[in-house]
Symmetry: D2
Subunit: 285 residues, 4 copies
């Protein structure tokens, strides 16, 4: 007996009858909806929906669903994705020298909290090799020398392709990805930025927060786009600081935030709860 669910994530211009059309599609094929989340933007009159239904008893085989659904999607001008809950996404984690997020993700993977498989840790340094390999995860060191960045990215893309990577996670990766790289993984690269965006864009936000004397700092998980720090925001969180906190104290507090916010962003993506529309996300929690 099939235990998995199917998930449709879709968006289109709003029209009468959309919810009925979609729920009928599932009901007429004898599916049982377990989650249905819908949102219509009142400003843009755009319609967003996430429907999850049980494959058990559903009369279409997995591979038939896209074929049968495509005409419906075409009729309404839908952008759509189909996922199955028993598919385990393949993740590559990019990291430089700050390892707290990497370590946290490995811990969650070990505890069974990460709904994905870490297929590779990729770094421009070799520092984390022992830690990573000790947990049985392959480690790839790509030194980035001046002038050879384009070649390195090509090699990385080849590796990602070979490993069948679904999601790239920048867990404090200190290199900027080129537009060519980003275009290959649209809405499939998640970065953790160590500030409450759009405050403190760019380098060393800990120092910037200290210098400005803010009373709260934050962290932001977002999809990577060509414009650095401008990608659609998935999750944010904050923590209080005071005048007593040095730059180093701010860093220590921020690291806890970064780990939690990155993990939350990842989980939402891996559970197929995010729709991106223009520069923003619709997150069905």
């Amino acid at each position: 007996m099939e235990q998995a669910n199917a998930i449709l994530l879709l968006s289109c211009p709003d029209r009468k009858g959309l919810v009925a059309r979609l729920s009928n599609f599932i009901f007429q094929n004898n599916g049982n909806i377990v989650h249905a989340d819908q949102y219509t933007s009142t400003s843009s009159r755009h319609f967003f929906m996430r429907i999850e239904w049980e494959l058990n008893g559903f009369e279409l085989r997995r591979e038939e669903i896209p074929m049968v659904f495509a005409p419906v999607a075409r009729q309404y001008g839908m952008t759509w994705e189909l996922h199955f809950t028993d598919y385990v996404p393949r993740i590559a984690i990019f990291v430089s020298r700050h390892l707290h997020c990497l370590h946290d993700l490995i811990l969650r993977r070990d505890m069974g909290e990460l709904p994905g498989r870490v297929e590779a840790v990729i770094s421009n340094h070799d520092d984390a090799r022992a830690l990573v390999e000790q947990f049985g995860i392959p480690y790839y060191h790509f030194p980035v020398a001046p002038g050879c960045k384009a070649q390195v990215e090509q090699d990385q893309l080849a590796l990602l392709k070979e490993l069948g990577i679904d999601l790239v996670v920048l867990a404090r990766y200190m290199q900027i990805l080129s537009p060519a790289f980003v275009d290959r993984y649209v809405n499939k690269i998640i970065n953790i930025h160590h500030s409450f965006l759009p405050a403190f864009i760019g380098g060393n936000p800990y120092q910037q927060a200290y210098d400005r004397g803010v009373k709260i700092i934050g962290a932001t998980g977002h999809y990577v786009t060509e414009d650095l720090d401008e990608g659609p925001i998935i999750a944010q969180d904050v923590i209080e600081i005071s005048h007593r906190d040095t730059v180093s104290d701010i860093q220590t507090k921020s690291k806890d935030l970064e780990r939690i916010v990155l993990a939350r962003a990842l989980r939402l993506h891996l559970e197929n709860k995010i729709l991106v529309h223009e520069s923003k996300t619709v997150v069905f929690e």
Copy 2:
């Protein structure tokens, strides 16, 4: 042209085709769904839904809807309510001597933030009369002498009925309502409790929080049931305290919380976003 929306709030045992049946009901009568929130409890297999659609273009007149929908509801064993967004609920606020919540509600009413009409302020003291009447709200003083409580409640119930009250708000009302009173307004009496329930049930939670040395205090907005402090929780919030906070400091900090949490609970109720099931709420935010 009709600008209002209709809202169906319903729950029933889960079955295949529920979302389809409900969205078809609306679509077949030419309605346009603007919000649809659905939740199925995985533990109890109970189904909850809130659907909001535009009356503009809908082919049933308001008064016809219940008649046409009743057979659907019967078929699936639904508990349901129908609301219209242009109906302005009539509110009675009960208060004793702590007036911060009352004052806050009056402020929100003045700023147009309260989606309801305050028809009466009812108190066992006469202290707040000047404040309330100055804003043009009728004030009713019901002194509660020992032994006459039952009679007072009867008089209050008569007044509420006469005024057509839809929602009773206990904005720090220091009298316990009898089961007979509560039964007349099931899930229609909202209380603000000045602690993070279930911590510090009962009298003087500020002192209890101080004595226990907690580092965080809270406030809870909940529906009133026969069991004091056991009603379904609608909203909660918290704030940090430290050893430096005296009981009086705790009270001051808590008052801000109480105002915000009560206002949030009220708004959720008045916007028909809450379903009560057994001792818990489903809140569609």
Copy 3:
């Protein structure tokens, strides 16, 4: 018997023996310290202290304290202020058309939560007159026509001087104060900015937050300096939002924040718990 306390707020370059010198000054005059907070910046080696002691039993009369303390202060190069807890500061509130913060401050004054006296509400509009006068507070309407701003500021400064105002509160005042005005009340003008500074500097931060798709919004209470939105931050707080929140929802949520953050900043100032050093605050909570 004297019930009030004296408070010294001071800062100077760090040196050995500062705490001893200061506590001896009080002890040798038979004072009893009830609060002593000290902080030394490790980056600038600057020393900050707030000491509060009972005047009851203290051997110097209030007016003698500055004279006796001045040589100590000179010796260490201190910047210092002396306050007494029974002095009730005189406050002027500036407001334009958004009245939620004004209303909140009036409520707190009524509940005895504001450790100061509201001597004037000053506005470039006449809208709030009825509300304000109803609570017995004088209302001053200064229309700001193009080209006459300098004159209006002169008139306002004359009024503030006449009323002996200690603290100016910009409770959503939509006019920019000139450097000449600000210089007259250095670290004595508190503004509430309706965003989490430094994010969304400038006009319409609600719309900016909506457009950027942030998941958290904030409010900032700060001293006003010549550089708009760059003054020393006193207090900040945040609240979560989601894709479902329209600009108007964001505004409604933010208003609660603004009220609380402004009230917190005011309380800290009025209780003499803030030291300003360069562009930042030291807040002894």
Copy 4:
């Protein structure tokens, strides 16, 4: 040149001249105070202070300080402790089968964030051995069979003594320690409780939180006393939940909280920032 600081943590009945007496003690021996935090309870008139000063230039050798300070302490009836910032406390972590807090502490130790040395992980199960030993930490397995608990505790106490353990951390240890054990480590055993105490005392707080339908859950770091869940609270934090969260979702969210709250409580203890008085803590942050 001596880089370390000395820290005095003390409390006594309030009296005039305490701050002066203490700061003079340091100044007269040519010490430079870098932090001084003081608090007097207005209800109990009890005085608490934490003073930290540089040993560099201080005229007493470390071992002389207690001897010279003892008469001062006696005169005022002080309870006091003396610490040095370059001493690295020796920690034993007790754990059962939930390993998220253990894993987190190991991560922080690896990143240099834990101001202490983990000398032993002690468990009633053998599950975590591989994980722990892989990081070079000794692992001790003490199976707890019915009837042999007293013996196991004696063996554990002997081990702690042999290892010179300063702090015992119960990182989700599912055994209740006997009063005899607790008496040997008064205010030196820190437990993480997986609820917002005093809500949901006792077993399975995740289920309790789910059943009660709370909208916020918490975690509590506290010293262990004979009365289970009644020890002095060091740190607490909370996170929002909704009706959509199953017991398992609550557990997942809570685990992040537990890790952060336990780490915060540990850091405060290891930095000698906590004074315990009766059943409460004074935390100088």
